[in-house]
Structure formats: C-alpha cells, structure tokens
C-alpha cells in the first residue's frame, strides 16, 4: 500500500520499484522480494507540513477586537430581549 503525503506538505515520493516492473512476462518467483522499507521513498520538504506560504500573522489587537465585537453582540441581544420582554409583559 502506498501512503501519500498530506495535501499541504511539500513532500514528494517516488514510485515504488515494483510499480515500474513489467509483470506480464516474468514468473512471480522472479520478482524481487518486496521490501516494505523501499515501498516508497518519502522526502520531507524544506517547510513544515503545518506551515503555509504567504499566510499573514494575525495580530493580538485584531483578535481582541473580534472578541470585543462578540461581547458587544451578546450585550445587544440581551438588552433587546429584556426591553422587548418588558413590553410583552405590559401588553398582554
């Protein structure tokens, strides 16, 4: 079984030796013995699998702003709910 590298990696692999052999003319006994260690040759690239090229770093201030925006949305939702509910209580 050939194991393929992760999609975002820069790894390459070579075809296993047995894939290049012509299996139509030779008897099974004449094939080279299968060596699992040589089933594929996996070369790791220069970059780590988890590193993507040209991805900008997200600054802490941007993250804080996003968190603050979320808190504001929560506060708005609770405020609107309470105000609306009070109106419902008085109108029913």
């Amino acid at each position: 079984m050939v194991i393929y590298p992760p999609n975002n990696s820069r790894a390459t692999f070579d075809k296993p030796k047995w894939a290049t052999q012509d299996t139509t003319k030779h008897q099974p006994a004449q094939f080279e013995a299968f060596d699992p260690a040589e089933a594929y040759i996996y070369h790791t690239g220069e970059m780590d699998n988890n590193t993507l090229e040209n991805t900008p770093e997200i600054s802490d201030s941007v993250i804080e702003a996003k968190v603050d925006n979320t808190q504001v949305k929560f506060i708005k939702a609770d405020t609107e709910f309470m105000y609306t509910w009070r109106g419902v209580v008085r109108s029913q």
């Binding site: 603050d68 509910w85 008085r90």
Partner: protein
C-alpha cells in the same frame, strides 16, 4: 323521614353536592398592571445582587433602562455624612458600548475585561430576572411555573 320516592331519587342521582363558596379570583398575570418604572424597580432588586455583597451604608441599582441603555447607580455617605452618588450609563452604539460617567463629562468605549464583565452581567441579569421575576425561560420566554405566587407586591407610588 324521607319518602320512598326521595330515597329512590337519591339512589339514582346521588347526594346533592354541597354548594361551594365562589372560588377566589386568582391573578395569572400580576405584573400586567405595573408600570415600566415599577417593573424596572423589581428587576433592579435582582440586578443589584449580581456584583456581590453591597457594602453597608450603600444602595445600588443596576437595570436595563431601555433598548439602548443600562444604568448602574450607587448612593452612599462620605466620612462627613454628605450624601454621594454615582451613576454610570452604558449606552449601546453601533460601534460599541459607551460608558458615560459624571453626567457625560467622562466617556469611553468599553473594551477588554471591563467589556467582558458587562457582557457577563447583562447575561446574568437576563437569566435571573426572567427566571426569578417573570418565571419564564430566559431563552424562549416559555412559562416555567403555572402558579406565580411568589411575585412580590409593589407599593404603588
């Protein structure tokens, strides 16, 4: 002594039930008659407890005033016995929550931990006021109990 006919009727239709006194009128929506101000006062009784124990000699109010404003208000007496008070308005604006103090002299948009604290307070307010005052589910508004008998009476002003 009952006649034979009366005895037969009793066997057929049973004893006449005793007439019950007219049932007391129960109010299913006691909060309906209250004004906005009275409802806010009731809500604030819960709101003031969200921030822990109130120091002796201080009074505190915290409530949702309207669709855009929360109010924090405290009163106390200083060492000279002079009455002091502080009111903070949290105004909801499209670009954030504006904290207004000292009658508008100081104002700044909340951020960071203080903003998170207010978000927690408003969420706790909603949870507790809906459950404890209105007896309703804080998410859906569905009734939690059929006998809201613990709703306190408010002295009409």
């Amino acid at each position: 002594m009952p006649t034979l006919l009366q005895q037969a009727m009793t066997l057929l239709v049973g004893d006449q039930p005793k007439r019950l006194s007219s049932p007391q009128k129960t109010t299913t929506r006691p909060l309906k008659k209250l004004t906005d101000r009275q409802l806010i006062k009731l809500e604030s009784e819960i709101g003031r407890t969200l921030f822990g124990e109130i120091p002796t000699g201080r009074t505190r109010e915290f409530f949702c005033l309207d669709n855009d404003t929360w109010i924090w208000h405290e009163e106390w007496k200083d060492s000279n016995g002079k009455e002091k008070s502080q009111t903070v308005r949290y105004e909801i604006h499209p670009n954030g929550i504006l904290k207004v103090e000292d009658g508008g002299k100081n104002y700044n948009f909340l951020k960071g931990q203080e903003l998170m604290n207010l978000a927690l307070a408003t969420r706790m307010y909603r949870e507790r006021v809906m459950r404890e005052l209105y007896k309703r589910d804080p998410k859906t508004g569905a009734l939690l109990t059929t006998e809201p008998s613990t709703i306190p009476q408010v002295a009409h002003e």
